[in-house]
Amino acid sequence: MPDLEQALVISNNEVGPSLFEMELAASQTVPLCQPGQFVHLRVSSTHDPLLRRPLSLYDVDKNRGTITLLYKIAGRGTDLLSRTQAGSYIDIMGPLGRPFSFPTAGKTVVLVGGGVGIAPLLYLARQLMEKGYGVKVLYGSQSSRELVALPRFQQLGVEIETAAWDLESGYQGLVTDLLAERISGQNIGFLYTCGPEPMMAKVAEYARRYNLKGELSLEQHMACGVGACLGCARKLADRDSHYVKVCKDGPVFGLDEVEVN
């Protein structure tokens, strides 16, 4: 069961422009973690900033009992987080939310990540590989310096292509254009995506066009993280007046399940 844990900060390093990797020892939380879920963490011991911040599970090492996060400084909360020293403790709730699902095994799946949206896809890729899927990752960002997750995917031994305007080797352009080039020829069993909403909207559009199933991971401001406050509402795509909770019904949704734009 998800619980509250004082996790030990093992390391917290800048790995790219405004991008940080933090490793946490969280032995209580780790056994429950599934790809696509998130932890909800306190970035300050005072009342400002007040609310917890949700961050995806970037990687989980069940043997070592550690969680790794990849985060971008987006404001005050993540800025404070980036100043957290190794050796200190951080209060985490989790794992929370609906994880990615696994389609019928044996097929090739494609993961499309944009910017720091790559975060939930690494742990997903790891589990997909373990379960024997054919995994192909398309990973884009504004600039090549931000492609900080690349070495970790390479270490996994997964097939990965990168996209950025300033790439020497790799695709010079948007990751969605790269997807467009790759999507038609291949026999894709399932699409996973996380990144800026316009990017995910594009992925969802291709999925519709090629009649592919898939999942995305959404963001929304959160308070409770457990479905109690109804603060993180998003509209369902097919109904007029029904909202879902990103924290509890998501953050993972079917590609055609919610409105993205």
Binding site: L50, M93, C224, A228, G231, A233, K235, H242, Y243, K248
Partner: protein, 318 residues
């Protein structure tokens, strides 16, 4: 206050909130604890004085479009828009689990007209497992052109009176702080027959996204909660306690045992925790323990001996 030697005396933590018996003074605030099961991984809701469930209305409400919440300095704004499945679904789908767990349940109701409040009370009165009804009167009265019930003493009187006539349960109007004279509102509630008062609801506020030059919340306005509003809540409870003889369920910004003590000392018989639980899901349990410890240290036999003590010139006669 004299420094007494610490003896681990037994403290009676129970309180009486206008006929509603609470095993301890710590309750959750409506809308922050769902229907009581969302936080069950963290603690058993039956340990609480009471669970106040999410506000319910006659018909289902979709709620407001997002964004619905935004953080503010030491607080947050919410504009959920009373999203809920309607009172009948609440009674059928959510209440049974609460009842089986032995949770003390305070229902929270909201209507567009006084008659809707009365009808809601009637239906809840028949349901098994509800222990009191909290009236959210910070809603626009459609018959009065959208003026909030809670800002006009006459409307407060009318709603409370009608509800009282339709239920045997203790009735606890929840006062809006967005008023000039909170005591006048409290008096009107008392005259209407209120058994206790709940205070305070959120302060109305807003925030602007300066990059987009637009209000952050889709609804423009939202309710401000959290530590930021604590000084206002304490002041209003202090004023009402002085002038109106009704027990008070006090809250607004409680995030620690010390905060809870402040509320009790200005006159709250019980306290409610809302936003604080988002920050620390174990807070209600920590406050229950913390209050007991404080009472022990002060050598009190009942937690209720602390209620309103900030009004007395001399504290702890012993």
């Amino acid at each position: 206050m004299p420094n007494k030697p610490v003896k681990t005396n037994q403290v009676d933590m129970s309180v009486n909130l206008g006929g509603l018996h609470l095993k301890n003074p710590v309750c959750t605030a409506s809308g922050t604890f769902g229907y009581g099961s969302e936080y069950k991984d963290y603690f058993n809701p039956a340990l609480l004085g009471a669970v106040t469930v999410k506000g319910t209305t006659l018909e289902a409400r979709p709620g407001n479009p997002p964004p619905r919440i935004i953080e503010t300095p030491a607080g947050m704004l919410n504009a959920i828009g009373l999203e809920n499945p309607g009172v009948d679904v609440f009674i059928e789908q959510y209440l049974p689990e609460l009842r089986e767990q032995g949770v003390t349940v305070i229902a929270n109701i909201a209507g567009n007209t006084p008659e809707e409040y009365a009808e809601l009370a009637k239906r809840l009165d028949k349901a098994d497992g509800i222990h009191a009804i909290e009236l959210n009167i910070s809603c626009p009265n459609v018959q009065q052109g959208g003026l909030q019930f809670g800002t006009d003493p006459d409307m407060v009187y009318q709603v409370v009176y009608l509800v009282k006539n339709n239920t045997q349960l203790p009735v606890i109007p929840k006062l809006s702080p967005n008023v000039t004279d909170i005591v006048a509102i409290a008096r009107a509630a008392q005259q209407g027959g209120a058994d206790a008062l709940s205070m305070i609801n959120t302060l109305m506020g807003m925030a602007v996204d300066v990059d987009r030059c637009r209000p952050v919340l889709a609804n423009v306005f939202g309710g401000l909660s959290g530590p930021a509003i604590k000084p206002v809540a304490l002041r209003m409870i202090y004023q009402v306690y002085q002038q109106v003889k009704l027990p008070i369920l006090g809250g607004g910004g409680i995030v620690s045992t010390q905060d809870a003590l402040e509320f009790i000392m200005v006159g709250a018989s019980a306290i409610s925790i809302g936003t604080g639980i988002f920050v620390n899901p174990l807070l209600p349990c920590e406050v229950i323990d913390g209050l007991e410890e404080y009472a022990q240290q002060k050598g009190l036999s009942r937690i209720s001996d602390l209620v309103g003590i900030a009004h007395h010139k001399k504290v702890f006669s012993q």
